[in-house]
């Protein structure tokens, strides 16, 4: 509860339907955190629209949620540097042929290219620059095909960020 109360900036990259951020928004509201700003980004215009709708329908005041259509968090990088307390990223993690990566249609929600890592790898430096120190945390979903141990090593070696497996599920 203390952690929830201290969160100031939340960013979800690739919000899709918006359920993750909206869920966090409702938890923040329950913890009486009225200071938090929620940002959601997605390359797909429909996802942006649905994210806003999900927020509205779940009473997460549109006040504190702003949705921006863009690639990863590109336009926010300078201004939110080291300011994001909670970052949520469910990347397109399915290994696919390279040609499927980079659209803004529905395939953008799963197409991850080689090892399902193409989009994720581009996001790593952005995530590293956005997280607040020392307690900023990113919650990210991967599958074994993405070689999570390799990701953990890169994050630690290049950015000093510790990667901790949180939950493991069979899909």
């Amino acid at each position: 509860a203390e952690r929830l109360a201290s969160i100031r900036n939340v960013l979800e990259i690739g919000s899709g339907t918006g359920v993750s951020t909206v869920f966090l928004g409702s938890m923040l509201r329950e913890a009486k955190n009225t200071d938090a700003t929620l940002f959601a980004t997605d390359v797909n215009k429909d996802a942006i629209r649905v994210t806003c709708k999900t927020a509205k329908e779940n009473g997460v005041d549109l006040d504190s949620l702003e949705a921006i259509q863009c690639d990863l968090a590109t336009p926010l990088l300078e201004r939110l540097r080291n300011k994001v307390d909670v970052l949520i990223f469910n990347p397109p993690y399915v290994p696919t042929p390279e040609s499927e990566v980079g659209s803004d249609g529905i395939e953008a929600s799963w197409a991850g290219g080689k090892d399902g890592r193409v989009v994720f790898d581009r996001a790593i430096p952005q995530i590293a620059s956005l997280l607040s120190w020392p307690n900023g945390a990113a919650y990210i979903i991967t599958v074994d095909d993405n070689k999570p141990e390799e990701i953990a090593k890169t994050m630690m070696d290049e950015y000093g960020i510790e990667v901790v497996p949180y939950v493991r599920r069979r899909a």
């Binding site: 702003e66 921006i68 863009c70 690639d71 590109t74 336009p75 201004r79 939110l80």
Partner: protein, 135 residues
């Protein structure tokens, strides 16, 4: 798109070379939601504004508000204003209740345009523009 959001956006493409802000606003349609009545909501609003004050680029905010037709913000902040609840509530209203529904954001350095439709800004760029994004 709210003024608070505009304040956080920059054209970070390689082309812009770090000069991709402030994004000039051309407004076609603006919607202003009602300010809340004085009451419990105003406590929340004041707390929220106090929390984000250090995140705001004030000069950019003043210019952007003017581009949306609001010329009432003071050119600089001072101690008195920052501790004035009425000012903070008014600032909340400007930051959060004024929505650019339709218009264009233009990069002052490269002239690149980012359209705003249905209240959201489209900042998607081509892959080569993203390649040397500044951090």
């Amino acid at each position: 798109m709210r003024l608070l959001t505009h304040n956080t956006l920059r054209n970070n493409s390689a082309e812009a070379n770090g000069k991709g802000y402030p994004l000039k606003i051309s407004a076609v349609e603006v919607r202003v939601d009602d300010a809340s009545e004085v009451g419990t909501d105003s406590e929340r609003e004041i707390a929220f504004v106090k929390g984000i004050l250090d995140m705001l680029d004030w000069k950019i905010l003043v210019k952007a508000a003017a581009e949306l037709g609001l010329n009432t913000l003071p050119p600089t902040l001072n101690e008195n204003l920052v501790n004035d609840d009425n000012f903070l509530r008014a600032l909340y209203h400007v930051l959060m209740n004024v929505h650019l529904v339709k218009g264009m954001l233009t990069c002052p350095d490269t002239g690149r345009e980012f359209p705003v439709t249905d209240g959201t800004v489209d900042f998607t760029m081509e892959e080569d523009e993203c390649e040397n994004v500044r951090y």
